[in-house]
Symmetry: C2
Subunit: 209 residues, 2 copies
């Protein structure tokens, strides 16, 4: 694992986020998202290109390399875990949790992160309530919101889903379905997310209301 500065990690994470919403990621998008001057973004991107984490031809769009994507996913995973912890365990307000997670993600060691994940897992097991009626996420209609009760995917897909911020307890809303019924577009914790229908069918949710 490379030793990236916090700032560069933030760039990677932002590129990842944007690439899931927009078809191309451009300097201007990043500048707006991170609230940094275009010129500064441009310079930082050059650094990331030198590090082989990002590809960009002059004046062209920005794309993560596979190493870059890997790094970005790790960063985001930490970010989301931390936020989840702050919100669900400590009861910090979401806006503040978001900001703090953003800053803390850079100072927390892998060991502590692991313990934090353990703690989250343990606390999720505790409240054993009566079984609820659940459906596949893919069954929800546009506009409906559900709370994830179980992730039936395994292996890489399970990990990926988790990295995308979808975990037991997460609220997820259907934003829309593509013309052919696939993929589906969701909103999770303020992020947009696309999943293929067969992927969504491996996530069980309890429909809200």
């Amino acid at each position: 694992m490379l030793d990236l500065s916090s700032s560069l990690q933030d760039y990677l994470e932002a590129i990842l986020e944007l690439s899931e919403v927009n078809s191309t990621v451009r300097v201007t998008d990043l500048a707006k998202k991170l609230n940094i001057a275009k010129a500064s973004v441009s310079q930082s991107i050059s650094k990331l290109v030198d590090l082989n984490l990002v590809q960009q031809e002059s004046y062209g769009p920005i794309e993560l390399t596979s190493t870059g994507r890997e790094q970005a996913l790790k960063v985001r995973r930490r970010h989301r875990m931390l936020r989840k912890f702050l919100i669900e365990i400590l009861g910090v307000k979401p806006e503040i949790a978001e900001k703090d997670a953003c800053k803390m993600e850079h100072s927390i060691s892998p060991e502590t992160m692991d313990k934090l994940v353990d703690f989250l897992a343990a606390s999720e097991q505790l409240p054993q309530e009566e079984p609820k009626m659940t459906t596949q996420l893919s069954q929800l209609k546009k506009g409906q919101t559900g709370t994830v009760t179980k992730i039936e995917a395994t292996g890489t897909l399970r990990r990926r889903i988790s990295e995308l911020g979808v975990n037991v307890g997460t609220k997820i809303t259907v934003l829309g379905v593509a013309p052919m019924g696939d993929p589906m577009e969701f909103s999770v914790q303020d992020y947009r997310l696309s999943l293929r229908k067969d992927e969504a069918s491996l996530i069980r949710v309890e429909v809200d209301q």
Copy 2:
């Protein structure tokens, strides 16, 4: 509350720590503790002097002003709380907890810190075991270790004791007693601490072993 950079906060905290162990704090001590070149320390101290947080005549020892001391105590309180949280709640190893707390203390918002303190307080109340035999901390002999069960001090003194890192559950060891029986010298969480005998008598402990 001033808006100090993390680095300057670290200096303040280190000065406070050193001032409790040494009679005077010098540039060299700080340089060694923080692992930073003397020249850099010297410069940073000038900044702190400009900010009225530290007093120093040229070539003389370093002393916190009252504002500086206040700031330093706040920083240390956050540091210790975080470390305590990492160790006691998450079960992170002390060495790692120490390092992480050091870095995280600068990125955590007051709101989150409050929640964290609440959480610690709540988790301390849960395990209600049978009452134990306790004594006043002032009754311990040199070399004995006790676990704090109650702090009977109130108001400012109570706050001060807590800021010094002494809280319910804290292990505290008697390092020695001054010739006249006062003050007493303790070791708490790797720090040295002096308390007057009458202050120590307001802390109840359960003797270890």
